[in-house]
Symmetry: C2
Subunit: 214 residues, 2 copies
């Protein structure tokens, strides 16, 4: 309840292999506890207990509860970035068509966010993050938009007056929709595969049909 430390960096670097393992165990436990209880009810004591270490040990490596959440989020950011670059590389090598490429993109993001659906949501929305982290998120999204733009430039059928803006909207759309669907799967109303297909259709239409500026 009380946030006494504002620093997010670890107060002590794990040096021996023993302590490195401890840090990993704590982070793993944190994902599980946050998934199960949410951010507010995911108490540090619970995390420590789940990790099988004492609460004191936890605070030796993380100066605050917030720092744990931020560490997890950073991990996820890196993972998503990797995934995106893998995707681009794959597409370039395999010479897939635009449709295939977008299908892969949407499917990848959907899977990415379905893997630990609650965790993403909790870290991004429930957790009160410092401004610094929000900035980092924004930058990551803009970087993603540029990566996507780099790939889409290779497809001649893509017509856009400003590919930067277009790709920004695309990234935002895919992020939003996949998060949303992963968080509240409306399977009863519209099954996952159809949903993904519809999103892809929308993206293709947006990219290839030349809608005049309004």
């Amino acid at each position: 309840m009380t946030a006494r430390k504002q620093c997010l960096d670890p107060r002590k670097q794990p040096i021996q292999t023993r302590s490195k393992a401890t840090v990993d165990v704590i982070l793993l436990a944190a994902t599980q506890v946050f998934e199960a209880h949410g951010y507010a009810a995911g108490t540090t004591n619970r995390i420590a207990s789940r990790a099988g270490v004492s609460i004191g040990t936890l605070y030796q490596y993380f100066p605050s509860k917030e720092a744990i959440a931020v560490a997890l989020l950073e991990r996820h950011l890196v993972d998503t970035g990797h995934r995106l670059h893998e995707w681009v590389g794959h597409m370039v090598v395999e010479q897939h068509g635009l449709c295939e490429a977008l299908r892969d993109y949407v499917a990848g993001m959907l899977e990415m966010h379905t893997r630990q659906p609650r965790l993403q949501h909790i870290l991004l929305e429930e957790t009160p993050l410092p401004e610094r982290v929000h900035q980092a998120l924004l930058e990551a999204e803009q970087h993603a938009a540029q990566t996507v733009a780099g790939l889409l430039r290779l497809y001649p059928e893509v017509r856009s007056s400003c590919l930067e803006h277009t790709c920004f909207v695309i990234v935002q759309t895919v992020e939003s929709l996949t998060h949303r669907y992963a968080a509240h799967p409306d399977d009863q109303f519209i099954p996952r595969t159809i949903f993904a297909d519809e999103v892809v259709k929308m993206l293709i239409a947006y990219l290839t049909c030349n809608i005049p500026s309004i």
Copy 2:
């Protein structure tokens, strides 16, 4: 911190005009306090104090903190529903074109969510809502999808293999993107009007270009 009551209904109906005013004041204060502090830090004592009533009075009309959040959310749901119907009525009367109609829709939702940007976000994402409320949200979204479908059926240029699914995706897209933009206005990277225009372009393309099923 402790959630002792699970019931969400007011424990006492306001009868006199005095008490009705009190309830209103409490709800107003709640919006302000939640906006300023978020859900977790928006304490009931703070809400009562801001409303200028005692904490005991607050608990006479709301059995729990959660009940306050739910009441606010229900209000917002009703407002958005009204707005949507107004929009449909307006479009039918004025006989606007598809492009105009979508512009209005997106602009309306963007304004709706920009009005109290933090509040929406807090109620929908930060607050741990009971399942019942999530169900209600889903139903509201499906209802919105049907309303939108009803309007779009009037436009011959709209081609869709399944207007229900298409409109569901559209509603989700607009909701997601406007929420997102309202929450973190990326004005620096892409200005609001351009963002709105791009979204509209995407929707028109999706609705009018006949992308073959994949």
